[in-house]
């Protein structure tokens, strides 16, 4: 089975959880015999092959003609706006007309209506710089795909949905739309109208939709009016990189950690409120806010105004290695996300023997047992839990051990099997409706 993967992130080019989820899934799929060709938003016209699991660690870049690209390093679209020479509309049209396609004889597959394609062409020219990159990616994908042989298309998040829909239209091959995060999560409500529309179109006109959690499926059903039977839930897995975790005691007081981008979605202000309350009870603890983001100054000023000295600390941006160091010295990790499709950080925290306190508005809270699950707005409850854990070190220790033991059982094998089964059904039945 050959799958054309469309994704915007893959290690080492990662911004958030998407890249890590793709890595875990692709590697596990590869060990189930799935052959993967991956298309990333590269400036060069290349694709990547993962034929055996080991190649998932360092996928090989290949040129259009299948020749390996070496030794040139890859550069991604840089984040500045380039004005297209002509309108994106004209360019898309030409390429599609040029595409020479052998059509398979399967007819049971639902077609993408022309209106959808026309609508995508139109909204992608409403271009801010990100939409422009999306249409550049689409054109790159359409061009390269002509030389790649594949059975189905698997697109990850809205950035790749337009490309996925175009390929489905051209090749009449099944499209799987994977929903790792929605615009509702990122914007905490209504976001960019074009992004909403692309998410809507991708989910409705694919042949099978996959959500990373029931929570995210719920958003698709409620806000995008997707029939519940059209979207399958496959929870993310987790692969532990290191086998030995050695906890470090850096401070005499217990360390409570927030780890994530400093954006409203991740709820850092909630974490500050928790810190404020816990410290106001005279509890000795150190709160660490780890990560960078647009809210940093605001949060620092707010923290400073509490006058709590060094008891709320900011680390700034952390490298991957520093993330692990931060987790080894933390006792409790709070993930107070306001809307979190999955939240892989919770599993990492558990792996590093931190007691997890997770927002109920998260996907990960559906799959773990040994964690406190609290509504993101219930600050008092989280304060109560933290104070209780600090006052009962044995209880804290026990939770840390249990969390670790639980997460050690996590793998990507189960999710990959589920995904592969969906591939098989789509190929056989033309859809994966339950």
């Amino acid at each position: 089975m050959k799958v054309l993967m469309l994704t915007w992130e893959y290690p080492p080019f990662i911004v958030g959880g998407l890249g890590m989820a793709c890595y875990g899934l692709f590697k596990a799929l590869s060990s189930l015999g799935v052959k993967i060709k991956m298309l990333l938003p590269t400036r060069e016209e290349v694709f990547f092959e993962i034929n055996i699991p080991d190649e998932a660690d360092y996928p090989l870049a290949k040129k259009e003609n299948g020749e390996p690209l070496s030794p040139e390093p890859l550069s991604f679209f840089t984040y500045f706006y380039e004005i297209p020479q002509e309108s994106a509309y004209a360019e898309i049209k030409t390429i599609i007309e040029l595409a020479k396609v052998e059509l398979p004889q399967k007819t049971e597959l639902k077609e993408v209506p022309d209106e959808v394609i026309n609508r995508l062409k139109e909204i992608l020219t409403k271009g801010d710089s990100l939409l422009y990159k999306v249409s550049q990616y689409l054109q790159n994908v359409v061009k390269l795909s002509q030389k790649i042989s594949f059975d189905l298309i698997h697109a990850h998040d809205w950035l790749t949905y337009p490309a996925g829909l175009f390929l489905k239209k051209i090749y009449k091959k099944p499209l799987i739309a994977h929903l790792h995060a929605t615009e509702f999560d990122r914007a905490l409500g209504y976001g960019h109208p074009v992004i909403h529309e692309i998410e809507y179109l991708g989910l409705h006109y694919c042949d099978c939709a996959i959500a990373v959690s029931n929570y995210t499926k719920g958003i698709a059903v409620e806000h995008y009016h997707l029939p519940p039977e059209k979207i399958q839930v496959v929870h993310n897995g987790f692969t532990a990189k290191e086998k030995i975790v050695k906890k470090v005691k850096k401070f005499k007081e217990p360390v409570i950690l927030f780890l994530g981008r400093l954006t409203p979605q991740k709820g850092p202000t909630i974490f500050l409120d928790i810190a404020k309350k816990v410290l106001s009870y005279g509890v000795k603890a150190r709160f660490v806010i780890a990560g960078a983001g647009e809210m940093e100054r605001e949060l620092m000023l707010e923290a400073g105004s509490l006058g709590i000295g060094t008891h709320i600390m900011f680390t700034g941006f952390l490298t991957r290695e520093e993330v692990e160091r931060a987790l080894t010295l933390a006792d409790i990790v709070v993930m107070p996300s306001v809307s979190e499709p999955f939240g892989i950080v919770a599993l990492e925290a558990m792996y590093f023997e931190c007691a997890p306190i997770l927002s109920k508005q998260s996907g990960v809270s559906e799959v773990v047992e040994n964690a406190y699950k609290v509504d993101f707005w219930d600050i008092d409850k989280m304060v109560e839990i933290i104070v209780d854990l600090i006052n009962h070190p044995d209880k804290l220790k026990e939770l840390q051990k249990k969390a670790k033991a639980e997460v050690e059982k996590f793998t990507w094998d189960e999710p990959a099997k589920k995904v592969k089964a969906l591939y098989e059904r789509v190929l056989k039945e033309g859809s994966c409706y339950t």
Binding site: K250, K252, R297, M300, G304, G307, G309, T315, R325
Partner: protein, 399 residues
């Protein structure tokens, strides 16, 4: 008679290292030795050495008529001895000419007067001892960090009976239309207050090389004319006192030698020495030359010479600065209680006002000045490094 009082501030802070969260508990040094050495040597070449040479020659040529005063911080003396003994030697030479008066301040150039009066008294005593030890000087004039002054400070300074005179900023909001050329008495009548003439001081310190300034280029002739014009306000024969107070780094560092600042100063002094109605004076001599009783002056809230606000906002206008400063004094007190002689000197170095200046996020023009002087890319980072260091000290304190 118009008396000119030149006063220069000589200071270098111990800038902190880029001390990250993960450096806590490590043996990394709190202070950026390499950076501090680099800055000191750079400023030594551009300012301290050539400026000392120039003023020494002017004093010698003036045959007792040209006088200047300095306040030299403890952290500066430490760095001079550590990084460039030649600079220390050059100050000794300069002071030995007899044309220099030394002024007292806080050893660490801190804002202790705002946060911790006990510590303030300690730091002033440390500085007085330093002046005695290094230069055999016994100052009777005081200036607080960046000319910070408020009524209560005069009360506190009564702990040092030898202090008779205090230098302060001639801020509009305390003078309320009065001229800064007349010395004043503190609200409790304990000290004579000499006011900085901020216009004529800043013409040299800030505007001298500003090409967009309508008076550019400033010539010695023009500047001397402005000074002479000042005497026109006085019709009853009262003596006037022109306080020209500025950072010593003005000469060669803030205003590079290419701007002609050295030639300007030499020429200006030369011209002023020829004037019969103008004399140079040490700040401590003002007492004896007054031919009238000064008016009182009340300064209920702190003034300073920093930024356009001339208040404490350069160091205490946001919560980062406030939390950092509050915490360092808390830790210093704790260290004193526990008798932690290993931590006390480190914490004292961390009270230096510059650390808080780097955390300032006021924007507009002042923001630019803050950025120019800051060794860190962002005020947030200056704060992070500082707080990480305090956290490390806090951990050590428990040992």
């Amino acid at each position: 008679m118009l008396y000119i009082i030149f006063y220069f501030q000589v200071h270098q802070p111990f800038r902190v290292s880029k001390y990250s969260f993960f450096d806590i508990g490590s043996s990394k040094s709190y202070f950026d030795e390499e950076l501090n050495r680099y800055v000191f040597n750079k400023v030594a070449e551009k300012c301290y050495l050539p400026a000392n040479e120039m003023f020494k020659n002017l004093i010698l040529r003036g045959e007792g008529l040209f006088k200047i005063s300095y306040s030299i911080t403890g952290t500066f003396i430490e760095q001079a001895k550590l990084y460039r003994p030649e600079v220390y030697k050059s100050f000794l030479d300069l002071i030995q000419t007899g044309g220099v008066e030394l002024i007292a301040e806080t050893y660490y150039h801190s804002l202790a007067s705002i946060f911790d009066l006990e510590e303030f008294l300690e730091q002033v005593s440390e500085h007085l001892e330093l002046m005695k030890r290094e230069f055999g000087a016994e100052p009777s004039v005081f200036r607080n960090t960046e000319l910070i002054y408020f009524d209560k400070l005069s009360d506190v300074l009564m702990n040092f009976p030898q202090i008779k005179t205090v230098l302060i900023e001639g801020a509009d909001r305390i003078l309320m239309g009065d001229s800064p050329l007349y010395p004043r008495l503190s609200y409790n009548h304990a000290h004579l207050l000499l006011l900085k003439h901020y216009k004529l001081s800043d013409d040299i310190a800030f505007r001298f090389s500003d090409r967009s300034w309508k008076e550019y280029p400033l010539t010695a002739e023009k500047y001397v004319k402005w000074i002479k014009d000042l005497t026109l306000i006085e019709r009853e024969g009262k003596n006037l006192y022109l306080g020209l107070f500025m950072d010593y780094e003005t000469f060669g560092e803030h205003q590079w030698k290419e701007t002609g600042i050295f030639e300007f100063m030499e020429k200006t002094i030369e011209l002023l020495l020829k004037e019969r109605e103008i004399k140079f004076l040490f700040p401590s001599e003002v007492h004896h030359t007054l031919n009238y009783t000064p008016k009182g002056l009340s300064v209920p809230t702190p003034t300073s010479w920093a930024d356009t606000e001339r208040d404490l906002s350069a160091w205490l206008s946001n919560s980062l600065q406030w939390n950092a400063m509050k915490t360092v004094y808390e830790l210093l007190n704790k260290a004193k209680e526990k008798g932690r002689d290993d931590l006390i000197p480190l914490l004292k170095k961390l009270t230096t006002s510059d650390h808080f200046y780097y955390m300032c996020i006021k924007y507009f023009q002042d923001g630019d000045v803050h950025k120019y002087f800051s060794p860190y890319d962002l005020p947030e980072n200056a704060y992070k490094y500082y707080i990480n260091i305090l956290a490390d000290i806090e951990e050590k304190m428990e040992e």
